[in-house]
């Protein structure tokens, strides 16, 4: 069965968790004991109705404050697809948790409260979704019950968002009027919105075309682990284990090893289940080569005529995620990129992006928590990468603060710094 990963996004209280609760409830995914527990908790919190948001807001602190703090992952399937949901927090303080949930998504649902329209946080999340290159975006105009299911209001919000979205790189944008609380247009079409002729949300999630979102063109194999069995039976075995990051690889293919530049041929692609004839993303396999060359974790196999860029200097968009420190030129950090880790220096902060206008703040000197900007990094060793827009695996990285060990930045590569 095909699998779709999607994430919710949008401003605080716009109804993300309620929408997920409604989706789970109306697809009969909720177990009786979970529902009983949520009903008990709703009564205890003095709510007039069963608060479906409690299905994902499971932490003590979240229930005390009535907000989502960290991503909740939920699962359900229909006869058509299996879904992995990341319900993310809308609160600005927890933007990094939204980014965590959205980074692996195929689709993002940005919710907007029909009464409030497009808020700064809606824009921030829509922008992050486009920056992360989530291929499909749904704008769910929620709480339609509170605006009398008014078509005019829906159109206004739609126009307002469309104006903003024009400046973003969004390949596929769909608008749906919903009420998460009452279930309108979530799983079934609503009688209250006769003027809306699109599909309900679930139908869209089941049908949106995702098969072509992967890179099957550029063969990339970051070596993750070298397998050398210490047994007599496999005495001379030397296999390179890893997850295919792009393209299709087959036995007999010529490959070049980065950084050494040596070339060889794929002898076989092995797995516990036997030889593999074709390997493609995201398969986890073990590659053996015809020649004995020195290869270790962090190296990359490519095709001689289709190689990743190898460079110590990269330009990237950064989303800064630390409240304790700022990103500024001169900072020294650790980078984790594919299976490579290295030290990096921030050479230059080109600009910060203003989330509201998407204009560049050219004289910015630092990025603070949740700010986004373009930087040039110099790495202590070469990195093997592609533009993030071409490959989400070889184009992404995280920045780590060496002293605290914390993940402080998320990066999307624009290219080699020139």
């Amino acid at each position: 069965m095909e699998m779709l990963r999607f994430a919710t996004a949008g401003s605080v209280d716009d109804g993300k968790s309620t929408l997920i609760g409604r989706l789970l409830y109306d697809t009969k995914t909720i177990f009786q004991d979970q529902l009983d527990a949520v009903e008990r908790a709703s009564v205890q919190m003095g709510s007039d109705y069963t608060n479906l948001a409690l299905l994902t807001d499971g932490l003590r602190a979240e229930r005390e404050q009535g907000i989502t703090i960290d991503v909740a992952y939920r699962y359900f399937s229909t006869p058509k697809r299996k879904f992995i949901i990341a319900d993310t927090p809308g609160h600005t303080q927890y933007t990094r948790n939204m980014v965590t949930g959205a980074s692996t998504a195929d689709l993002a649902i940005v919710l907007i409260d029909a009464r409030k329209g497009v808020l700064e946080q809606s824009r921030r999340h829509a922008f992050l979704a486009s920056l992360l290159r989530i291929p499909h975006l749904v704008l769910a105009v929620n709480k339609m019950d509170l605006v009398d299911y008014d078509e005019g209001r829906f159109e206004e919000v739609k126009e307002e968002f469309r104006d903003f979205a024009m400046k973003l790189d969004i390949a596929d944008l769909t608008f749906i009027p919903v009420s998460a609380l009452h279930g309108d247009n979530v799983v079934t079409r609503s009688d209250s919105t006769p003027w809306y002729d699109g599909p309900p949300l679930l139908h869209h999630l089941e049908e949106v075309h995702i098969a072509s979102d992967r890179n099957l063109i550029d063969p990339r194999f970051p070596v993750q682990y070298v397998i050398r069995p210490q047994s007599d039976e496999h005495h001379d075995y030397r296999g390179y284990a890893g997850t295919i990051a792009g393209g299709v690889m087959r036995p007999g293919d010529n490959v070049v090893v980065l950084p050494s530049g040596f070339s060889s041929t794929i002898e076989s692609i092995d797995s516990f289940d036997g030889p593999v004839e074709e390997a493609f993303a995201p398969m986890a396999v073990t590659v053996r080569l015809s020649d004995e060359i020195d290869i270790s974790r962090g190296d990359m196999l490519c095709r001689p005529n289709n190689q990743a860029t190898s460079s110590q200097d990269i330009d990237a968009m950064i989303c800064w995620m630390s409240e304790k420190s700022v990103l500024a030129a001169g900072n020294r950090l650790m980078i984790k990129h594919t299976t490579r880790s290295a030290k990096v220096i921030v050479k230059h902060l080109a600009y910060q992006l203003d989330i509201n206008s998407l204009s560049r703040i050219e004289d910015a000197t630092e990025l603070k928590l949740n700010e986004i900007g373009r930087v040039t990094l110099r790495s202590q060793i070469p990195l093997f990468f592609d533009e993030y827009r071409r490959n989400r695996v070889t184009g992404s990285f995280v920045l780590i603060d060496e002293a605290s060990g914390h993940t402080v930045g998320a990066g999307m590569i624009l290219g080699e710094a020139g």
């Binding site: 992967r214 069995p229 516990f272 995201p282 995280v398 998320a410």
Partner: protein, 334 residues
């Protein structure tokens, strides 16, 4: 190993609509993207294998927690796949409450021998004998909470820095919030309000002195995924997972098996029922469910139709309070 029979590869290269690439002088037609689809089970499997390898590459002393339950059995298979044809590059630890199903202990020893894995036992009985923990008293006594101390002692004794656990996010609402790489401070505590961002498939494993991580490679699997995988892979599991006749009594809406560790108190009567276990844990607090599912297909049909979560149906330890799991996890529980 028996052929690539479960890999979904359909080399359907004759599709006219397929994209083409030009490499030098040669133009080659690529198979349609649809032909390069992995089923959701194979995607989950690949993600798990990736996580196992990442930890083996980056940590000094990882260890796989193994209870003999279905999730840890699947974990063991995934670990074997990750490093084949080499053996597991880490030992296996069983936090043993002493209240085991005999079938499960027998299974554990046989399966680990077959995998060539080294077993480390962290014994709750030993912790009681040493006075590190105190046994609960009364007919409802359970060793569940005592596992936390025993586990943390085992971790520091062996200086493990990464522990693979078989928890799934669909099990419980606190688990639904937990990262794949989940940090534990020097007291073994989880801080749910301060988790590290975790993006793409990039896992940050940097630790400070005396910290460790718990790693959950099957975070994204559901109970049903586990069963479908057991079927697809023809994985052997302990017999208590299939329907069998057993002498049980009812307590708090659960069927408990009578034996040396737990027996009925006044008002509870023994009877024989056809049952099976949905989870396998400490015998004194793991409930059986009424079932006639004797085969894997029957179990899958039953799990697909059930209206109660596996923990709700079978774990007395989770019924204590709404936040029982979160609280135990904060203390360092699995």
């Amino acid at each position: 190993m028996g052929g690539a029979k479960f890999l979904v590869i359909a080399p359907n290269c004759r599709n006219e609509w397929a994209p083409t690439v030009t490499c030098g002088r040669r133009t080659r037609r690529l198979a349609s993207p649809l032909a390069y689809d992995l089923s959701h089970l194979r995607q989950l499997e690949a993600e798990s294998i990736h996580i196992f390898r990442e930890v083996a590459a980056e940590f000094e002393k990882p260890c796989l927690l193994f209870s003999g339950g279905k999730d840890s059995i699947v974990m063991l298979r995934l670990a074997e796949k990750a490093f084949w044809p080499a053996r597991l590059p880490f030992p296996v630890m069983h936090v043993d409450t002493g209240h085991n199903f005999p079938e499960v202990l027998e299974f554990r020893d046989r399966r680990l021998a077959e995998a060539g894995a080294r077993l480390v036992v962290a014994s709750v009985q030993q912790a009681i004998d040493d006075g590190r923990v105190v046994e609960e008293a009364g007919p409802r006594a359970s060793r569940n909470r005592l596992q936390t101390r025993t586990l943390l002692d085992g971790i520091s004794e062996h200086r493990f820095d990464a522990l693979f656990g078989g928890a799934r996010r669909d099990e419980e609402k606190a688990r639904a919030k937990e990262r794949v790489f989940s940090f534990r401070d020097e007291f073994g505590q989880w801080d749910p309000k301060n988790q590290r961002p975790e993006l793409w498939n990039l896992y940050n494993g940097r630790l400070n002195q005396d910290e460790h991580i718990r790693v959950f490679p099957i975070s994204n699997w559901t109970e049903l995924d586990i069963w479908h995988y057991i079927k697809a892979e023809q994985i052997e599991i302990p017999s208590v997972y299939y329907a069998h006749k057993r002498e049980v009594f009812e307590r708090d809406g659960m069927l408990l098996s009578t034996g040396p560790y737990i027996s009925p108190i006044e008002g509870e009567t023994l009877f024989v029922e056809s049952v099976r276990y949905r989870t396998v844990g400490d015998m004194s607090c793991t409930g059986a469910i009424e079932s006639s599912a004797e085969t894997i297909d029957a179990v899958i049909a039953e799990v697909s139709a059930t209206r109660i979560t596996e923990r709700g149906a079978t774990r007395a330890d989770d019924r204590v309070s709404e936040a029982a799991m979160e609280d135990r996890k904060k203390e360092g529980y699995f």
